[in-house]
């Protein structure tokens, strides 16, 4: 059951010199007339036979852990299983080999997919309108902040600040800053929730929005969310929902019911699309009715007979991406939601939360949870409570053939281990994971510093990587 990484001293592609074997259709007798001033003299790409390309990437793949290799409990990343039916659907050339500017009558299938996903996301979030255009979660946040900015500009209000809890994902303050806002950080209280007094103190007539995720990055549901929404709205601000943690609440509650005005979804987390070693993601944005005209254009409408691409409204912030979004990711998320149905989605959230609480139960004797509140989709423990450093625990887990949690985040917990097991873990997976965590706590200091040793590479010199930058061959 334990992942054992392959180990090859695989050369860089440039060092493999078997000679290009790929053939394009034969060139016409004519030669291309290239403007002399622009003629390129030299080009040295790798020269590799296809069989060596195949072997190279096969060997690299065998040195890479993935969701299909085992449990992958990175906190806030929602690394759930990616169902294979979505791969099959996304590979259909009728969906895939379509130019985005084909006439509408010839893309009704793709527009139907987009329209149905817009509708599903509306229903899941209780928002009124959705744009599928943003290309990742952070891009959705940035889109949301652009909407906030334009909304207040149009109203002639000079609101320059965005309030963000100190437990927030780093993308939140970065996105608000990119849109030109000043960030006002509010601390969490002893329960791991937003400190209401601090929030009051942070609010003013400069407040444009509060960005928050709920449950938060500690896996805790903000019990005062309704109160928080009321306060922000009374102060004339907007409420932004970071959807990274949506997997905790599908069908149970929703950003719309909590009072949010803008929300982004992470299709590559909550809706099971594969993360591709870092991307592509997809970060659709949903808004309440009064903001629907601000969404990026175009969006998909349906008149009962035909699907069409239309401008979202006169107030639109315009374009956020080259075309309509990450369509193949949208398509996979559509397939997942359609397959799961309402009950399936709700069960996924219930199971994810159950799994988290079960794992917490197993390890909390040694690893003290950051806060006692009940957990939702994830939990944060401090490695210090087990007498260890978070990085050492992580490397011990690697040696035991599993993927470590997110470490050193959120920043408000010392030596944080942020664990999100998702619904794609059986009881025995969780028992085994807990077992490894408990063993890690018992390992003596000298040995744990030597971890990992079962992997293809031992601990890497990250300081050297940053000091002696080598970013290419």
């Amino acid at each position: 059951m334990m992942y054992k990484q392959a180990s090859y001293d695989e050369p860089l592609l440039r060092e493999i010199k078997s000679g290009t074997s790929y053939r394009f259709p034969s060139v016409e007798s004519e030669t291309a007339e290239i403007p002399k001033k622009l003629l390129r003299r030299e080009l040295n790409l790798p020269s590799v036979a296809e069989y060596d390309v195949a072997r190279h990437f096969t060997r690299l793949a065998e040195m890479n852990y993935s969701v299909d290799n085992g449990i992958y409990p990175l906190g806030s990343c929602t690394m759930k299983y990616n169902p294979k039916f979505a791969d099959e659907i996304a590979a259909n050339p009728l969906f895939r080999d379509v130019h985005p500017m084909r006439p509408e009558s010839t893309i009704q299938g793709n527009l139907r997919i987009m329209y149905e996903l817009q509708e599903y996301l509306r229903e899941i979030s209780d928002m009124d309108a959705v744009s599928l255009q943003p290309l990742a979660g952070a891009h959705g946040e940035f889109t949301g902040m652009r909407i906030v900015r334009k909304y207040f500009e149009d109203r002639g209000e000079n609101r320059t600040e965005v309030i963000i809890p100190d437990s927030a994902h780093g993308t939140n303050p970065a996105s608000a800053t990119m849109a030109g806002f000043d960030v006002v950080e509010v601390p969490s209280n002893e329960k791991g929730m937003v400190d209401l007094d601090a929030l009051d103190a942070a609010m003013s007539d400069r407040t444009a929005a509060l960005m928050i995720t709920n449950p938060n990055t500690l896996g805790i549901f903000e019990e005062n969310i309704v109160e928080i929404a009321r306060k922000i709205h009374e102060a004339g601000g907007l409420l932004y929902y970071d959807g990274a943690n949506l997997n905790a609440i599908l069908g149970i509650t929703s950003p719309g019911l909590m009072g949010f005005d803008i929300v982004h979804f992470n299709l590559h987390k909550t809706f099971a699309t594969p993360h591709g070693g870092g991307g592509p993601g997809s970060g659709p944005v949903g808004v309440k009715k009064f903001l629907s005209g601000y969404l990026p254009s175009p969006v998909v409408r349906f008149d009962g007979r035909r699907y069409s691409l239309v401008d979202s409204g006169n107030e639109s912030i315009g374009a956020m991406a080259t075309h309509y979004g990450s369509f193949l990711v949208v398509l996979r998320a559509w397939a997942y939601i359609r397959y799961m149905g309402s009950n399936g989605l709700r069960h996924a959230s219930e199971r994810a939360v159950l799994n988290t609480n079960y794992l917490e139960h197993l390890i909390s004797g040694i690893y003290r949870p950051s806060h006692p509140a009940p957990k939702k989709h994830e939990m944060v423990v401090s490695a210090t409570s087990a007498g260890k450093r978070a990085s050492d625990i992580a490397k011990f887990i690697l040696d035991n053939g599993m993927h470590p949690p997110t470490i050193y985040f959120p920043l408000i917990v010392h030596e944080a281990l942020m664990i999100e097991v998702t619904e794609s873990a059986s009881k025995s997976d969780l028992d085994r994971y807990a077992d490894v965590l408990l063993k890690a706590a018992k390992e003596d200091e000298e040995s744990i510093k030597q971890r990992p040793s079962n992997t293809h590479r031992r601990r890497l010199d990250e300081v050297r990587a940053a000091r002696q930058l080598v970013l290419r061959w």
């Binding site: 130019h99 952070a138 993601g281 075309h323």
Partner: protein, 437 residues
């Protein structure tokens, strides 16, 4: 597990969620079996069926040959279903692949450094404008007046928060090249960056692009290039680009209905600490063996928060692997061949269509790459109907596509070629246009 936790039901796990915000009805659908889902998806896909069409649509998204091995590599589950390589020891495969991507792309663009990907070409350009401002603190950005509307809009969204002022420069009427005198007049000490495109938004390989370097003063040169053209055309690094960006869709990705795409982002090495996005660096492990790891993360949002160089987190890693696989498979000769055929075919298109009365496919004396603007004196609806009836995709109106499409470009429509375009396609297009005018 519920029992072990001392809970009666899963509802107990959600007792902290106030009753007033509980979801009362949740009505998506009952869910489907896999078999039913696959059938429904296939039926939906059929609504896109368009057999026997000749495809002249391009303008940023191209129908190029994708070697079979590219999709094969992307479907490797260890690449497809892994996360960002935070735990480097068990992510050496992806890390090495991304290091190779950075290397091969830097070679293709002749730039010092390439990051491990941005979302798409347009957002990469937006980030480039932000990066130029971070480097020199200046606010004026010169851009080509014929830039695509959506590209401009994305760039404005990215730059809005910095208070950047955009000023357009024009093009020579006859050649379709950048108007150097116009740029020279508009550059001043407050200029942060000059954006050039090659090929430019008229689809013309811009022979004046190489002369911007000597007139740019303290401004940065941002080049937006077509990566396939670089098989035969001078790379941005050779004409002084400080930042080079590109849309990588053509390098092994299908048209994908507009996404996922690949944002290529390269720059001079002295600017590395001001750059956005993830970088993979080479280092050694505890035994001194070559290894790869994400580096300079201190520039990124998860550490630096509001002081980060960008908010980007998820990128297009898998698409970077596609581009790497494509370039490694076709090699220098292959990419030269594809670029050369594109030039040959756009020339043939210009020649064929210009023989039709009331049609002008040679609006500029400069050489076309993929996209050819064609002036056709006919109402848009009639042209669209006819093309559809004749089973031809193409004819993107310049008015819709370009921010500024006056003069020669009014009533122009874009028709694009790739190495897939056949003589038969060209004949079909010619016959159709003969009928309409």
């Amino acid at each position: 597990m519920l029992e072990i936790l001392g809970k009666h039901s899963t509802d107990d796990l959600f007792s902290d969620i106030p009753e007033e915000i509980r979801k009362k009805d949740f009505k998506i659908s009952g869910g489907l079996s896999e078999y039913e889902l696959l059938n429904y998806a296939s039926e939906t896909a059929e609504l896109n069926r368009a057999d026997g069409f000749s495809n002249f649509l391009g303008c940023g998204t191209y129908d190029r040959i994708v070697p079979s091995i590219v999709d094969h590599v992307l479907s490797k589950t260890e690449f497809l279903t892994s996360y960002t390589p935070y735990q480097a020891e068990i992510s050496q495969g992806m890390l090495q692949a991304l290091f190779e991507y950075q290397s091969v792309m830097s070679d293709l663009l002749e730039m010092d450094v390439t990051n491990s990907s941005m979302y798409d070409g347009f957002t990469a350009l937006g980030e480039a404008v932000r990066m130029a401002h971070r480097i020199n603190g200046k606010k004026k950005v010169l851009y080509p007046e014929n830039i695509y509307r959506r590209k401009m809009s994305v760039m404005e969204n990215y730059a809005h928060g910095l208070g950047i002022e955009f000023e357009p420069y024009g093009f020579e009427e006859k050649s379709g090249f950048i108007d150097l005198a116009d740029i020279s007049e508009k550059i001043d000490d407050g200029t942060s960056a000059i954006i050039v495109e090659n090929p430019n938004s008229y689809g013309i390989l811009d022979e004046n692009v190489t002369q911007i370097e000597e007139m740019k003063r303290n401004a940065l040169l941002i080049a937006y290039v077509d990566p396939v053209s670089l098989g035969v055309i001078k790379p941005p690094g050779s004409y002084g680009a400080d930042i080079a960006v590109a849309e990588g869709q053509q390098l092994g990705l299908h048209q994908n209905f507009g996404g996922p795409f690949l944002g290529i982002f390269s720059f001079r090495k002295e600017y590395v600490r001001r750059s956005p996005g993830r970088l993979i660096g080479k280092t050694v492990d505890a035994d001194g063996r070559d290894s790869y790891v994400m580096t300079l993360q201190v520039r990124e949002q998860h550490i630096r928060r509001q002081k980060a160089m960008s908010n980007i987190c998820s990128n297009q890693a898998l698409m970077a692997v596609a581009a790497l696989t494509y370039l490694a498979t076709v090699g220098s000769e292959g990419i030269r061949n594809v670029a050369g055929q594109t030039i040959i075919k756009s020339k043939a298109l210009r020649r064929e269509l210009s023989s039709i009365p009331n049609v002008d496919a040679s609006l500029f004396s400069g050489t076309s790459f993929s996209d050819v603007p064609v002036r056709i004196d006919v109402e848009r609806e009639r042209l669209n109907d006819l093309l559809l009836r004749k089973r031809i995709f193409g004819g993107i109106p310049a008015d819709d596509l370009l921010l500024h499409a006056g003069g020669k470009m009014s009533s122009a429509y874009f028709f694009s070629v790739t190495e897939k375009t056949t003589n038969e396609d060209l004949r079909k297009l010619k016959e159709a246009l003969e009928e309409v005018v």
